[in-house]
């Protein structure tokens, strides 16, 4: 069974394209579209990697990441932030919050695959 990835994103067509890409690469992709209960979803599914959009309904991706880093069970979980805002200050904010990887929209599919593969924990 492949590694599990949770994609937290509210744009249906991005979810579809990224799910297709990563599934084809051997990942078991789960998706979630709401920020408000995203932390509970992570705790319930215990994925190996999380891709986290910043602008989500209910709660910002940075808030969710901050919450995940504050919990011992998700403190070291690989999380990639996905955002339309790629300025230095956004990257700095993500780094301060404890992000593992940072990707700006729009991205190339190959770039996405490489980044996610790099996040996969060594088994």
């Amino acid at each position: 069974m492949g590694k599990e990835l949770l994609l937290i994103e509210d744009e249906p067509n991005i979810i579809e394209a990224v799910s297709f890409l990563l599934s084809r690469d051997g990942w078991t992709v789960r998706t979630h579209s709401n920020g408000a209960d995203a932390v509970e979803k992570v705790l319930k599914l215990r994925p190996d990697v999380v891709i986290l959009d910043v602008m989500l309904p209910g709660r910002s991706g940075y808030d969710i990441l901050r919450d995940l880093r504050a919990r011992s069970e998700t403190a070291n979980l690989p999380v990639m932030i996905l955002t339309a805002r790629g300025q230095n200050r956004d990257r700095e904010l993500a780094e301060r919050t404890g992000v593992t990887a940072f990707m700006t929209k729009p991205f190339a599919n190959g770039e996405m695959l490489e980044a996610v593969r790099a996040l996969a924990p060594v088994t």
């Binding site: 991005i14 394209a17 297709f20 729009p106």
Partner: protein, 442 residues
């Protein structure tokens, strides 16, 4: 070099501008060319009859030779030199010579000051537009929507373009997604263009509406005879003067003119002119008592009077309860900063802490002219009284030259900290760019 030691340099510049040779000017002034040469190189002090003779021959006011450039111009040049990144070590050295530069090359100095003002205005435009991109929720949402749609199209189209087989149902799904997203992108683009078009004067909105109003007021000399005579109402005049202004600036101007109109109705030109003649000087507190008027209103009327009714020109600064300057009518030797706050020692700000209390102080302006001014200030309630809400105050400060210069202990003040040469000032909020003050530990 101090400004008053540059009289010779100014004589030289004026002589050259007049196309006179040194020997010719010396002959007309009845002095030897070698003596004039010493004067022109600031090695001999000059005054009295010779100064008046030289000024008459050169067809200039004697003060143009002794005082040189206005303090406003010098302040503008100092501001220009103070800009971060422009005042390297070389510029820092030459700030010492700003008076000399302004005195010897008034035209170039004026051009530099104007260019600096233009640069500052453009920088503010850029800042405001950047700010708009960052903080305008409509723009941010529209751009986010566009980027998300582009991301979806790019990801789906890249999958379809890849070599290899893609299951037919996925192919159909991605084709449908691309079709939907491209339609969405087109609609978002149209919405965005409509939104940007709606801000028809976005660029002028970005250049500080208060500045636009200040420019119109300065152009009019802070006086509106058509309102004084009742020939035009405030609204119509605001429409006429503000035709090319941004919407925000037009509203600010209209508000200013409505207040001007109310002031003029309460204290018509003839009324305040007569009261002024009876007392002799522009003392707003005396006039307020004589006319049974609000001292702040009297200050505004004094600032709007024609020069021939006033013994001396009146400057006026008004700030809101936060200390932000909402109106400025500077004097030649009492400049007021275009951006940011003024000198914290101005009685304008003291008045805010003592509302409804008349404050009068003699101020000595920083700089080599060291001119003295009488400053009258008062903070008065602004807006209607609301039950159980603290009153809002607005402070006024009227500034007139203190010709008597008899005050034993004038308060040393400046224009704003960045260009203030004073040292040991408890009110300093940022280091000065001027050499002596800049060396001071901050």
């Amino acid at each position: 070099m101090a400004r008053d030691t540059l009289t010779g340099s100014r004589i030289r510049e004026r002589r050259i501008m007049a196309g006179l040779k040194q020997a010719e000017l010396a002959r007309e002034a009845n002095i030897s060319p070698s003596y004039l040469n010493l004067i022109e190189h600031n090695r001999r002090r000059i005054g009295g009859k010779l100064l008046l003779d030289l000024a008459a021959i050169l067809d200039v006011e004697p003060t143009a030779l002794t005082e040189g450039a206005e303090a406003t111009l010098v302040a503008a040049l100092r501001e220009a030199a103070s800009e971060k990144g422009r005042a390297g070590p070389r510029a820092a050295v030459e700030i010492d010579r700003v008076d000399e530069f302004a005195g010897r090359f008034p035209g170039w100095a004026g051009l530099l000051a104007d260019t600096h003002r233009r640069t500052v205005a453009l920088e503010r435009t850029v800042e405001t537009l950047t700010d708009r991109l960052t903080h305008d929720p409509h723009l941010a949402a529209a751009l986010h929507e566009m980027l998300s749609t582009v991301t979806a199209i790019r990801a789906a189209s890249a999958i379809l373009a890849e070599p290899g087989e893609i299951p037919p149902d996925w192919q159909r799904r991605f084709h449908r997604n691309i079709h939907e997203d491209s339609a969405r992108l087109a609609e978002t683009s149209r919405t965005l263009v409509r939104y940007l078009d709606a801000a028809d004067d976005a660029s002028s909105e970005a250049t500080a509406p208060q500045e636009e109003v200040d420019a119109v007021l300065a152009q009019a000399g802070h006086r509106f005879p058509a309102i004084e005579t009742g020939a035009t109402g405030a609204g119509a005049l605001a429409d006429a003067l503000g035709a090319d202004m941004s919407g925000t600036a037009r509203r600010l101007l209209a508000r200013h003119l409505r207040r001007y109109e109310a002031d003029a109705r309460r204290l018509p030109l003839a009324t305040i002119g007569d009261a002024l003649q009876a007392g002799g000087d522009a003392d707003p507190f005396r006039l307020a008592g004589a006319l049974g008027a609000d001292p702040a209103q009297v200050m505004r009327r004094l600032a709007a009077l024609p020069p021939d009714l006033l013994p001396d020109p009146c400057g006026l600064a008004i700030c809101d309860a936060s200390g932000a300057l909402t109106y400025r009518k500077p004097l030649a030797d009492f400049p007021m900063p275009r951006f940011g706050a003024g000198c914290p020692l101005w009685p304008l700000y003291q008045a805010l802490s003592r509302p409804m209390t008349a404050t009068r102080l003699v101020l000595e302006q920083a700089g080599s002219t060291g001119r003295r001014f009488r400053a009258d200030a008062i903070a008065v309630p602004h807006g209607p009284a609301m039950p159980d809400r603290p009153a809002l105050f607005e402070a006024h400060m009227l500034v007139v030259p203190d010709r008597a210069e008899t005050a034993p202990d004038p308060l040393p003040v400046g224009v704003s900290c960045r260009i203030c040469p004073r040292t040991g000032c408890a009110g300093r909020r940022e280091p000065s760019i001027l050499p002596d003050a800049a060396r001071e530990e901050f």
